[in-house]
């Protein structure tokens, strides 16, 4: 069976993904962040695009729900940029997965991105975008160590 045919066999239906993101609003709205249905549709479409562009297949519910839970309390994300930031983070996530050759689990990578975004990147998506994998891992080690020291 062709790989593309496999992708077409498809993960969870779009509607289920959209409903799941709608549920996430219940948590994120506590921090003043919500996604409109139109924004949710756009994010789900972006996920498909990103997966196609990165040559990956998603077998779970996608990274967005976990990403929302991880980032919705961020002081660096403004209400007006919320959806765009999620879209950019999602794209970075799958790109890093490839660049790291899946060396980090989903949770580890998400934690690394969260740590760097809120640490040395100070909320800058550009900073994250410009990191290569070595820097990402090095930053993760040092930022995590700093975090541990702080505790």
């Amino acid at each position: 069976m062709e790989k593309r045919g496999l992708a077409n066999a498809g993960p969870a239906p779009v509607r289920a993904r959209e409903d799941r993101l709608m549920q996430c609003n219940e948590i994120s709205q506590q921090f003043g962040l919500t996604l409109t249905p139109a924004r949710i549709r756009a994010l789900v479409a972006a996920e498909r695009r990103t997966l196609r562009d990165t040559g990956r297949l998603e077998f779970g519910e996608g990274i967005l729900p976990r990403m929302i839970y991880a980032f919705c309390d961020s002081p660096f994300i403004a209400r007006g940029d919320y959806a765009d930031t999620l879209e950019a983070l999602q794209e970075l996530f799958y790109t890093f997965k490839n660049d790291l050759n899946d060396a980090l689990s989903d949770d580890e990578l998400l934690e690394a991105m969260h740590t760097i975004f809120h640490g040395r990147a100070q909320g800058s998506l550009e900073y994250l975008e410009n990191m290569d994998t070595k820097e990402l891992l090095a930053a993760l080690r040092s930022d995590c160590a700093d975090g541990d020291d702080d505790e």
């Binding site: 069976m1 790989k3 496999l6 992708a7 077998f59 899946d102």
Partner: protein
């Protein structure tokens, strides 16, 4: 030697005991687009389970290539089990796929055990006559049993197998089925080669190619050719030695026959060799017959070509 039920069943209907294979073509209409979509959706569900197994839940996404490998493994196992149970391809639309998969994995594990027994026999009995590629390949097959993953990569052959058999294993065979067939053929070849005095085999191999030890050269073919050639001449095959004059004689004998007749004559000579040397088993006899028949075009071509076939002196 234990054989799975399907192999035994197929063995009764296949005319060629050498290349019967596990997957004879089934005459079935192709899936309609709707059916294909349904099969893909059912496979996707199984694939999700495989992904969880592969990543232990750490990754919800995979590279397409990685997922495609998992899918190939699934399809291979499902096809293998479907054929064993005599199910049509359309069974994929209705069968209990997780159960079919489990049954297939169990059956493949049995094949692994059989292959391992064959491997032990090969380690004990195969004479490599100094062939480095044969030696390395035998060692390499040992890696297969350490690396083979019947659950996630059942179709893969994680071993370096360089030594060329006289009759290569069909590329349609994958995973442990390939290894098992390779070992069966290697043992068949070895059984014939070791029926002769080793010094004579070595002398023949050296005539065939002075550097044979370091070359990708099959050891069986020159021995088989000489045994069959001597049988055609009505001589004992023990010396494993054919002169240029004798090669010319065989050339004339076969060139005078129609192509089918030449092949048949070689097949008969192969059968006579098997009889004389008490070569056991239909598969080994079929193997030598096919090897002999394949020599026909080169023997008939010219006396010089016949001399090359027999490494004549």
């Amino acid at each position: 030697m234990p054989r799975c039920a399907a192999t035994a069943r197929m063995g009764t209907t296949m005319s060629d005991p050498v290349d019967s294979g596990f997957f004879p073509a089934q005459q079935e209409a192709a899936f309609t687009p709707r059916e294909e979509g349904a099969v893909k959706a059912r496979l996707w569900g199984l694939l999700e389970t495989q992904v969880r197994l592969q990543t232990q839940g750490d990754h919800s996404s995979l590279r397409e290539e990685t997922a495609a490998e998992l899918l190939r493994s699934l399809v291979f196992t499902l096809q293998f089990q479907s054929r064993r149970e005599g199910l049509p391809a359309r069974a994929l639309l209705t069968a209990d796929l997780p159960e079919l998969l489990k049954a297939g994995q169990r059956a493949l594990q049995t094949e692994v055990n059989t292959a391992q027994t064959l491997y032990t026999m090969a380690l004990r009995s195969v004479s490599d006559f100094g062939s480095l590629f044969l030696r390395d390949t035998l060692q390499g097959i040992g890696q297969f049993f350490k690396r083979y993953d019947v659950c996630l990569h059942a179709h893969a052959i994680p071993a370096d197998i360089d030594y060329p058999l006289c009759l290569p294993v069909p590329e349609t065979l994958q995973g442990v089925l390939y290894i098992r067939e390779y070992l069966e053929r290697l043992l068949i070849e070895n059984r014939l080669v070791t029926r002769f005095v080793p010094e004579r085999v070595t002398a023949l191999l050296l005539r065939s190619s002075p550097d044979y030890r370091g070359l990708l050269q099959n050891l069986y073919e020159p021995v088989a050719a000489n045994a069959v050639g001597l049988s055609l001449l009505g001589r004992g095959d023990a010396p494993l030695e054919i002169t240029h004059a004798q090669a010319g004689e065989i050339h004339r004998m076969l060139a005078a026959l129609p192509p089918d007749g030449a092949r048949r004559r070689l097949g008969e000579a192969a059968a006579a060799v098997c009889e004389r040397l008490s070569v056991p088993g239909d598969k080994a006899r079929g193997y030598l017959a096919r090897t002999a028949e394949a020599l026909a075009p080169r023997i008939v071509l010219s006396p010089q070509s016949a001399s090359a076939v027999f490494s004549a002196r």
